[in-house]
């Protein structure tokens, strides 16, 4: 039975094993490889997507869970917060290896959409699930504050 889901604004009917994690549907079926495989157990956040606007770990979300839902990935995320986040990420050259940054950007975008002026504690709470082994955390924090400033202006 095919699952109907909207991905980056495009309605799709996906006919594969419904117990397949959304992560692998995106990467292997749809060849959208911006969403990354980091741990497979929702401990690192590299696979973060927005599920009806909420940051969600696609490695622990099954295709059968997303019938009728709207998914946004790094390839499709847009809007005021996303634009501010991307611009701040580029201004501060946040990424090093970059492998976790799709997830970081989606988590930061969700944070700023909900909380346009986050404190350091808000940032810790929202971003603690997103691991960066290069430890670019100093710049992630600075870039979130920077994005918040630009959204105000």
């Amino acid at each position: 039975m095919a699952v109907n889901v909207t991905i980056n604004g495009v309605e799709r009917s996906i006919d594969t094993d419904p117990e397949t994690p959304l992560l692998w549907v995106l990467r292997d079926e749809l060849k959208m490889t911006g969403t990354k495989f980091g741990c497979g157990i929702a401990q690192c956040g590299a696979c973060t997507v927005h599920l009806d606007g909420y940051p969600t770990r696609s490695c622990q979300t099954y295709l059968s869970d997303v019938e009728g839902a709207s998914i946004t990935t790094i390839e499709g995320v847009e809007g005021k917060a996303a634009e501010a986040v991307r611009a701040a990420w580029r201004e501060l050259d946040v990424p090093q290896c970059g492998y976790c940054q799709s997830g970081q950007i989606l988590a930061a975008t969700a944070l700023l959409t909900e909380t346009p002026k986050p404190s350091d504690e808000d940032i810790d709470a929202a971003m603690d699930g997103n691991v960066c082994r290069c430890a670019t955390y100093v710049r992630i924090r600075a870039a979130i504050h920077r994005a918040a400033e630009t959204m105000e202006g």
Partner: protein, 732 residues
Amino acid sequence: MLHLLDKPLAAAKPSRRSFLKLSAGAAGGLLIGLNMPYGSGAAKAAEGTAEFAQPFVHIRPDNKVVVISKHLDKGQGAATGLATLVADELDADRAQVEVEFAPSNPEVYKNLLFGLQGTGGSTAIANSFLQYREAGAAAKAMLVAAAAKQWEVDPASVTVEKGMVKHGSGKQATFGELAGAAALQDVPEKPKLKSPDEWVYIGKSFPRVDTKMKTVGAPSTYGMDVQHENMLVAVLARPPKFGSVPKTFDASEAKKVKGVIDVISVPSGVAVLAESTWPAIKARDLVEVEWDESAAETRSSSEMLADLKSMTGEPGLEAHVHGDAEAGLANAAKIVEADYTFPFLAHAPMEPLDATILFDGKSATVWTGSQLQTIDHNVTAGVLGLSPENVKIETLWAGGSFGRRAQPDSHPVAEAAHLAKAWADAGNAPRPIKVVWTREDDIKGGYYRPMVAHKVRVGLDADGNPLGWHHRVASKSILIGSPFEQFLVKEGVDETTAEGVTDMTYTVPGIRVEVHNAKTAVPVLWWRSVGHTHTAYVMETMIDRLAREAGKDPVDYRMALLKDDPRKLGVLKLAAEKAGWGDPLPQGRYRGVAVQKSFNTYVAEVAEISFREDGTVKVEKVTCAADCGIPVNPDNIRAQVEGAVGYGLGAILRNEITLTDGEVDQANFDTYLPIRISDMPQVEVHIVPSTEAPTGIGEPGTPPVGPAVANAIAAAKGEWVSELPLSKHGLA
């Protein structure tokens, strides 16, 4: 990684002969064809082509300047660094510069310090500084010559600025417009280089070349992203104990999973081949394998550690002797002794290992974040019985490495090649095969920072000055048995085992350093800053212990003993000054300092800590000073030190790989706990201005953070932690 940099550059440059020997070692006698050309690394423009294509710089008709990076970029910024060098001498506009990775061709693209194509040891900029500037300068001279010819003017009257070639007459042209004509000019043998005061990017600003693509989820960035028509994905059932190999297996359940195509045994495990990744992961857990464990490591890590500790009680191999350490100890007014232990550490780069291969019976292509291309190349050729000119290595961006992708045995690529061979031998039509390591495969897969024990005895005179320093280190050697052994192991002593101790520059009249080489089937590997990961911790906490015995301030005590090391002294002073060392601290805050030279770069760090209510340490701020010679790309230097502080801190807080009866206890990020944003201190990085040749910055920020934090803990509690990680003591 490698430590050839500790020697003068000329002496470190391996000859052609040593390169051939090295390749032979790496590939187990795979010398066939090495004298043959490797292919099209150095493309030469033919008459009439519109593209300028020199080995390190391409200029395309669309006005793009493409810098060909011989180095892997795994986040450390090598690609941007090389682009900075070329763009400066070429006077290119930042916006027109892109980077592509070089093909595998050791003749053209070797690391000048290794003699083979590869990245590591914080050498990318150090070995490329002249080469890539000369490439940019040569390209500029050729553009100028082409313009002068076209405009019928004196080349000396042609100028280049921000990507435009200009003449006083008002004539101007873009690089792209001149590319074809420039390609036909003679390549200058010794192009004139700018003087440092003419640099426009070096030492100033040149934003990363890879940021944009890493903020949009661009396709085909990393090895893990490789997607080919008709591709199979392989996930392997791997041995639970190191040193065991598959004996028999039952794949009947695995083969029932929809999408599984075949299950094949290779030397490193039993591979499930499937149409996509998820069925391969699922079915891998259903393969039942009987392992031959006759050569397996069956000890627990606690037993291994006890063995290392008992080794440090016995005389070892002589690694360094200066003066008479025993006499210094015999004459001492006071002796300070300490034992230290360090656990195995996994690198855990964000992108787990992967390699994709296509083998058609006559030739093979490998796509991966290749860090030692020449070894990957020769190993692929060897496994598949191909001559090297029929093998291509396509290097992709890597999602971190920290040493993990620099494998002297190329084991992930070897595994892919074995699989491709088995697939072909079974009579199948060629299909691309991507081998995917899961996080569990990564954490349990070995190639760890070795487990290490140190025993140190230092004798002090009545004023607290060291007279004799006796130091033993026991650990499995990283290099013995690898192709690098012939360069970096002398009389049984692997120079990485006690680096940072053997080259100490504290004034001590008598020093004796000994090492023991432990044996285990657990594979070990360089981990960001290699031996310095543990030697800096021991050296710098020992110095703090001695300062306390001497009743001196830790910074003053170091400065007095570092008279002969002005650059170490320089970073120490700068970090102390910027951190406000000596200024009163708020209630509940404590400071510690450490300084270490690694990879010819000097870094000092001051950590400021507090304690949470549960007694765990919160590192509030780390103030760093780095001297890496001419700072080519200052913002990347700051970024690397920030990241290195986080990487080193994460490990000392709570990382350890342990084994129970030979099996690894940790599996994923729920049991091998990575540093997170809430753990991360503020980091301030100060760069020492310098005119010395540039040295590395990928690793040297890592070693000082552990001992700086340990010294801050000792400032609070009076005791130094000598058994890592800190979580063993309720401190993390």
